[in-house]
């Protein structure tokens, strides 16, 4: 069984220095667009706040125009504004991605983060490189498209054509992630990084070790023939059904199992106990096979029989 065979198309395997293979899930393009929108909204909100504060301060300064200090104050405000613009445009993504979570607020909100493509350490150089290209991927395409829209509304067709050509050229960079398998931005390609899902999973109680599963001694005894009909795929489906705990679904599953092994289907409260017992017994059998190197992937897999 090759490790690649059971990877989804959006999953990639990397091998850590300890020799452990980790399965990373690439971030979806829509999730990344959403993260970008959140970040841009944050930047826009900060800009709006700064503009309001500046206008307010400037209008306050207006009363003091007779004094020479007012000029210096206005100059200071201009410098502050220039520095803020530069930092927001180039520093917002950079500073957040250098942190321990490797994600901007938008990425964090959508459960994404950046990682090195080769499975090694994420370095400062990589984060720098991937964010140096953001300008031609986000801001310049936006400016180009807006100016093309503006000129084709206001000016003649020839000026519009030139602007649309420029916008189209910049859109090539902006839409780069749509055209490659790993969904890399131009910046990801330069830096050797990619954007993956930041995993979150709680440790659930093991079904086979539930306290109530053992309070009453199981009065079901399944023979080898009754357990040999299913494989790992069915076991996992059964586990999912048991964890979700919808009674109708459990009853349907219990019916299907009983029809297969020729038992009478349980009713009411009995369903849950039957399924718990069958799950535990099936898992015990399949895990025993696993220890002896016999894997039964699903009910069509003949190897375990």
């Amino acid at each position: 069984m090759s490790p690649q065979s059971h990877l989804r198309p959006d999953q990639r395997e990397i091998v850590t220095p300890e020799g452990l293979t980790l399965r990373l899930t690439l971030a979806g393009r829509s999730a990344r667009l959403g993260a970008l929108a959140v970040d841009l909204a944050c930047i826009g909100a900060i800009l709006l706040g700064a503009v309001l504060a500046l206008v307010y301060t400037q209008s306050g300064l207006g009363q003091w125009t007779k004094r020479p200090d007012a000029r210096h104050a206005a100059q200071f405000l201009f410098i502050l504004w220039t520095a803020l613009m530069f930092l927001l445009r180039n520093g917002w993504f950079l500073i957040f991605e250098l942190g321990p979570r490797g994600a901007t607020p938008g990425k964090r909100m959508l459960g994404l983060r950046i990682a090195a493509r080769d499975g090694a350490r994420l370095t400062t150089e990589m984060v720098l490189a991937r964010n140096l290209l953001r300008d031609i991927e986000i801001f310049l395409p936006m400016i180009a498209v807006f100016s093309a829209l503006g000129s084709s509304m206001a000016g003649g067709p020839s000026a519009g054509m030139v602007n649309w050509a420029a916008a189209g050229w910049f859109l090539l960079f902006a839409l780069f992630p749509l055209f490659n398998r790993d969904r890399l931005r131009a910046g990801d390609m330069i830096a050797g990084t990619w954007v993956v899902e930041a995993p979150r999973a709680r440790l659930e109680q093991a079904l086979s070790a539930k306290p109530d599963a053992h309070e009453a001694p199981p009065d079901y005894a399944f023979g080898p023939a009754e357990l040999a009909v299913y494989g790992e795929y069915e076991l996992q489906t059964l586990e999912r059904v048991l964890r979700e705990g919808h009674h109708d679904a459990m009853e349907a599953v219990a019916h299907a199992i009983c029809a297969k092994i020729g038992w009478n289907a349980p009713q009411g409260e009995e369903v849950r106990r039957f399924l718990d017992a069958y799950y535990t017994a099936l898992r015990a059998r399949l895990e025993q096979g696993l220890r002896f190197g016999r894997r039964k992937m699903d009910k069509f897999d003949g190897a375990g029989r």
Binding site: L20, L122, T124, E125, M126, P199, A206, A284
Partner: protein, 344 residues
């Protein structure tokens, strides 16, 4: 009473009475679950940036717990069919891996290393591309000069329309653009504006290296062509030395920075077009990592250049002093990049 206190303390650890496990994989899990949960708590604290709340023992144990988890996961993959527990282990292993192999040092530590040698090393690593960019700039200056000398009407195309600096201007008008700016007011605002504008252009010049470096080359040629045209204009009125000093006071820093940005773009363009024995992806990624520190340096250089242009050029109103400052800056950058730390 004491019993009550110990029970109260034990609560956060969520010690539930473990039911007897029938399956071997469940016994395996029960034996290790405490360590997993402890690792999860540490990883969560690090992710949230609450490093100070962690004890030293926790931090010291992090690599050990991570390796234990890695081996637990390897065993569980081969022996356990508890899908929920496997998913948990996979996720926790990834999170712990991100922490263990995350950025090794904080930005401040990295920046110190950058100033004390990293920057110079990065510049030296792309010296071949710096040579190409320098040759392009020299060629651009010469081409700009020759084009305007051949046909002065091309000046507006190369250097833009300007009411004061144009081929029809008198020597006095041109001289006035070089001297007498020190009584200007808003010098600091001017410096800030220059920095913001130039830094954005430099980043653009670098980033467009992604299009096989051709736009970077064009930007270099265009900028140096403009310089060549202006040199010709001032030469014609006998102001070549004064103009050179006016440019040099900040230009030795600013043009050097533009040279480095263009060289970075060319380096990336070369890595994409001619990856050599590596794959295109590997070659591009390596080139990006090599040139990223150069670009951080370029932004810092443009900060210096903006201040020199905004303050020093306006305040120093004589050709020899301007040349002196410009020459000193050039020497400083050359020594810093190519002599400092080169022997290590």
């Amino acid at each position: 009473m004491r019993n009550w206190i110990t029970r109260f303390r034990a609560r956060p650890a969520q010690a539930q009475p473990a039911p007897p496990a029938t399956l071997r994989s469940d016994r395996f899990r029960q034996a290790r679950e405490g360590d997993w949960r402890r690792l999860e708590a540490i990883v969560t604290a690090v992710e949230k940036g609450r490093l100070r709340r962690l004890s030293d023992a926790d931090l010291l144990d992090l690599p050990v717990l991570y390796r234990q988890l890695a081996s637990s996961l390897a065993v569980a993959r081969e022996t356990s069919l508890d899908a929920a527990a496997l998913a948990y282990l996979e996720a926790l292993a990834q999170r712990a891996w991100f922490i263990t192999y995350g950025p090794r040092e904080n930005f401040r530590g990295w920046f110190m290393g950058f100033i004390l040698g990293g920057w110079s090393r990065a510049v030296r690593a792309i010296r071949f591309d710096i040579g190409i960019a320098l040759a392009l700039m020299v060629a651009g200056v010469m081409a700009g000069w020759m084009m305007v000398a051949h046909d002065p009407s091309l000046y507006a195309m190369l250097a833009g329309q300007d009411p004061q600096r144009n081929p029809g201007a008198s020597a006095k008008q041109l001289r006035d653009t070089l001297f007498g700016g020190q009584d200007q007011d808003a010098l600091a605002a001017f410096a800030a504006y220059l920095f913001g504008h130039n830094a954005q252009i430099a980043i653009l010049c670098f980033a467009l290296g992604f299009a096989i470096g051709l736009p970077s080359v064009l930007l270099l040629l265009q900028n140096s062509g403009m310089l060549g045209a202006m040199l010709w204009l001032f030469h014609g009125k006998g102001l070549l030395l004064d103009f050179s000093a006016w440019i040099a006071i900040h230009g030795t820093t600013e043009l050097f920075a533009i040279l480095l940005a263009g060289a970075g773009g060319i380096h990336i363009g070369r890595a994409i077009a001619f990856p050599g024995e590596f794959s295109v992806m590997a070659s591009t990624a390596a080139a990006g990592r090599r040139t990223a520190p150069v670009m951080l340096g370029v932004v810092l250089m443009l900060l210096v250049a903006g201040m020199l242009e905004g303050f020093a050029r306006q305040l120093i109103d004589a050709t020899p002093q301007r040349l002196l400052v410009g020459g000193f800056m050039l020497t400083f950058w050359l020594v810093y990049f190519f002599v400092f730390g080169a022997r290590k």
